[in-house]
């Protein structure tokens, strides 16, 4: 009996050992399957910001980013500068279309920005317009790489770095455009009809911007109106 029992336990252990290996393989297969499923996971992280911005001007711009890689490796050996020429070319062209918007931030707008008198005159002081790169698209169909046989392709990281530089360059170039002036005119064209609807006559409406007050640029008309209000 004891011998039979021992035999049974031995065969059970053998079976357990026999099941051990397939179970590990099954686990590995299952884990590998779950990894494949993870590929399709979508990450959405929205950051919601309450705001009040009056967008007044929109510029659509086009920029062709060009890059020509170095033609020589420069370095130093034993404090001697060396330059090894690299034969062949490695060039990149990326066209970008972007939308730039100018806006006036109304988030700090309050009673303090409005001055009124009993004669129906009103002065509204608006914050200075700001610009933002609203959206951008890379023209993939016209993106080109010119490579000699001995040079390597541009990596995604390299391209992303150049595109970032292009973005900064677009925003910097917009500072020299007339977008801010156009934004002011457009803001006037939006706010004035609202004030007319609110019962003010067009000749009694003055809309000015913070930096104009700082520069004290136009202000014969404004000063006159302000003094008349103060009187």
């Amino acid at each position: 009996m004891a011998k039979n029992d021992m035999d049974q336990i031995f065969t059970r252990n053998k079976m357990k050992k026999g099941l051990f290996l397939p179970s590990i393989i099954l686990c590995l297969v299952l884990f590998s399957c779950s990894k494949n499923k993870e590929k399709g996971i979508e990450t959405v992280i929205p950051a919601i910001v309450n705001c009040s911005k009056l967008h007044t001007a929109q510029y659509n711009v086009h920029k062709i980013l060009t890059y020509k890689d170095m033609t020589a490796i420069e370095g130093s050996i034993f404090s001697e500068k060396i330059s090894i020429p690299i034969p062949g070319d490695r060039m990149l062209v990326i066209p970008i279309d972007a939308t730039i918007r100018a806006y006036i931030d109304f988030s700090q707008f309050s009673k303090d920005n409005i001055v009124m008198d009993n004669d129906g005159k009103v002065i509204i002081t608006l914050p200075n317009p700001q610009i933002v790169l609203s959206s951008a698209q890379i023209d993939y169909k016209n993106e080109k790489q010119y490579l000699s046989w001995n040079r390597s392709k541009f990596t995604s990281e390299e391209k992303e770095e150049f595109i970032k530089q292009g973005r900064a360059s677009i925003l910097a170039s917009m500072a020299h455009s007339d977008i801010i002036d156009r934004s002011r005119t457009s803001a006037f064209n939006t706010i004035q009809p609202i004030l007319i609807s609110a019962g003010f006559s067009p000749e009694n409406i003055i809309i000015r911007f913070s930096d104009e007050i700082e520069k004290n640029k136009y202000s014969e008309q404004t000063i006159k109106l302000l003094t008349s209000i103060e009187e």
């Binding site: 950051a47 919601i48 705001c51 007044t56 086009h62 009673k111 970032k164």
Partner: protein
């Protein structure tokens, strides 16, 4: 004796001019060394960046293609990120790409879409009918901030365009949710109430155009 001296002198002169001598060229070790140098150059140095100099793009002009005076009031901004991946199976190879797209959805009103008499003021009461809340810049995605998470093989321009459109579609769906529209409406009401109260109106009634 004299002739041998002459020969050695000429050899010395030639060796002072040429760094590579005939003897060196005849030696197999010279060729082995040359091949090793070539391999080192090809695999390690050919596109090695000089760390002291940052690779910068050429300074090209930015062309303005169109100018538009707009009158759009933004009341809610959603900073969005979308992960899009694709796999293209070809006969001999497989191409894969996974990118993270960044975009900004701006919810607000376009006052140019308002009715002619959208602001009616009588006595101390102002009645305002605002146009419906919408996504202001439909393009949403800022592709200059796209990050490549993984890329292998040759991904065509058409596939890249499709991935971008896919990200844009997902972002639009997220932004157009009822909850977001409701928040934008609430903010719009608060802003117009603030302006008209500051202008002296005691009762301000705000509704949205259907």
């Amino acid at each position: 004796m004299a002739s041998t001296r002459k020969k050695t002198n000429t050899r010395r002169r030639s060796s002072s001019k040429n760094y590579v001598t005939e003897e060196m060229v005849r030696s197999p070790w010279f060729w082995v060394g040359l091949v090793i140098l070539g391999l080192v150059y090809f695999f390690f140095l050919r596109d090695k960046k000089d760390d002291t100099k940052k690779a910068t793009i050429d300074d090209a002009q930015t062309c303005i293609t169109s100018i538009k005076e707009i009158s759009e009031w933004e009341f809610l901004t959603l900073q969005l990120e979308e992960f899009v991946d694709t796999t293209i199976n070809k006969k001999l190879s497989t191409a894969q790409s996974a990118k993270i797209y960044t975009g900004t959805a701006r919810l607000g009103i376009n006052t140019k879409k308002a009715n002619k008499n959208w602001i009616v003021c009588e006595g101390n009461k102002a009645t305002i009918t605002l146009p419906a809340i919408e996504i202001l810049d439909k393009a949403i995605v800022d592709d200059t901030q796209t990050r490549t998470f993984f890329e292998e093989g040759n991904i065509s321009a058409t596939v890249k365009e499709k991935m971008l459109q896919n990200a844009k579609r997902k972002m639009k769906a997220t932004a157009s949710k009822k909850e977001n529209i409701a928040i934008a409406e609430k903010n719009a009401k608060a802003e117009f109430k603030n302006i008209f109260t500051a202008l002296g109106y005691k009762t301000v009634k705000i509704t949205f155009k259907e």
